[in-house]
Symmetry: C2
Subunit: 212 residues, 2 copies
């Protein structure tokens, strides 16, 4: 089972590494970070670099593809090499997946037309411009397309996918393996739950947050 | 505020990247991945490489240090360059932190003597050989030493630390920023919660899991 995780400049690291940590434990899975060229790709803050071990051309037909988000999504949406690769790969994938604003890149490739999908909470309305049906849920499955909400939600998405692929026991094994028994000190992880003055700061600066 | 995240061969990627995603959003923070030498370090499965941008010698006195875990911890515990760096850095840190079996590396450096600490659930008893008091909690604070349980717990640890450093509002802002509203499909993230037959597989193979 070939799993390709796309990297591009200014991706958000946890979008990629959260699901990586889950999917890399699927029996028989080979996970490869891919990009336009091999070598390090810097994340949104510039202080982290993940290495792409293969180019898009090296892996045209992965079984599973995953697109992370991050401010670099704005450029990725206009990158013909990425969009062409996504379209071709999607023809033969078992699962086509994204985390955070990665779904907007899937959308730009035309892969979300008429599909229920989610993305980072501040970008949810943007899905409609790609013909998707914005769906405010943490993990959305529509056919073989699985989209996750913001950043950390990729872990939940990947565990959901693990259950679809290998059954409930496998997903629970991986969950115990990564000791995923979340205990955040606050309950502020969604707009509905966060204090209003905190959500407001994000809403007032949404363009800045999404694109810088 | 200088934050150093230690890398070594065969670290577990989410141990490092989970807290990175939180700590890199602290105002005024500069996060640097460091290792014995600069360049890519491969993780436990070998399919992911994070780039170390500085050597241990480059950053002897970070304000915060973080040690991830992973099977490479076995070698890291015997690595004098790492242990010496930890001892020196710890003298002047504001916070000395670890995720998963990273706490055993702190222990090997003598930094957990008499301290309450946690680690990956299968390794909890191992803390005692370093004079620590094994504490079965997800995040343990003892003075300036903060240890987290397995893999994904680094996110909770870093949000706890963010509140200590910058207050509750800051931690909640970062939580909303990474949309950390966990919704795993199962409740299997600790030995107490997982089905008994799943925990047993881990217990029966604990040495294999921790060291390979």
């Amino acid at each position: 089972m070939d799993i390709a995780i796309l990297l591009f400049d200014r991706f958000t690291s946890l979008d990629a590494v959260g699901p990586y940590e889950v999917l890399s434990h699927l029996p028989g899975a080979t996970v490869t970070f891919i990009a336009d060229e091999t070598g390090p790709k810097r994340n949104d803050t510039g202080s982290l670099a993940l290495v792409a071990d293969a180019t898009l051309a090296d892996l045209p037909h992965p079984d599973i593809l995953l697109v992370p988000g991050g401010p670099g999504q704005v450029q990725a949406e206009k990158d013909d090499a990425i969009l062409d690769w996504l379209r071709t790969a999607h023809e033969t994938t078992t699962w086509t997946t994204s985390v955070c604003t990665g779904s907007l890149v899937l959308g730009a490739a035309g892969l979300l037309e008429g599909k229920r999908a989610t993305t980072y909470w501040l970008a949810l309305d943007d899905l409609a411009r790609h013909g998707a049906i914005p769906t405010n849920e943490r993990v959305v499955i529509d056919g073989k397309v699985v989209t996750a909400a913001g950043v950390s939600s990729g872990i939940d998405m990947a565990l959901t996918l693990a259950a679809e692929i290998g059954g409930d026991d496998l997903s629970q094994m991986i969950q115990l393996g990564i000791e995923y028994d979340p205990q955040p000190p606050f309950d502020s992880g969604s707009e509905a739950k966060a204090p209003a003055h905190i959500s407001k700061i994000f809403r007032d600066n949404s363009r800045f947050i999404l694109e810088s």
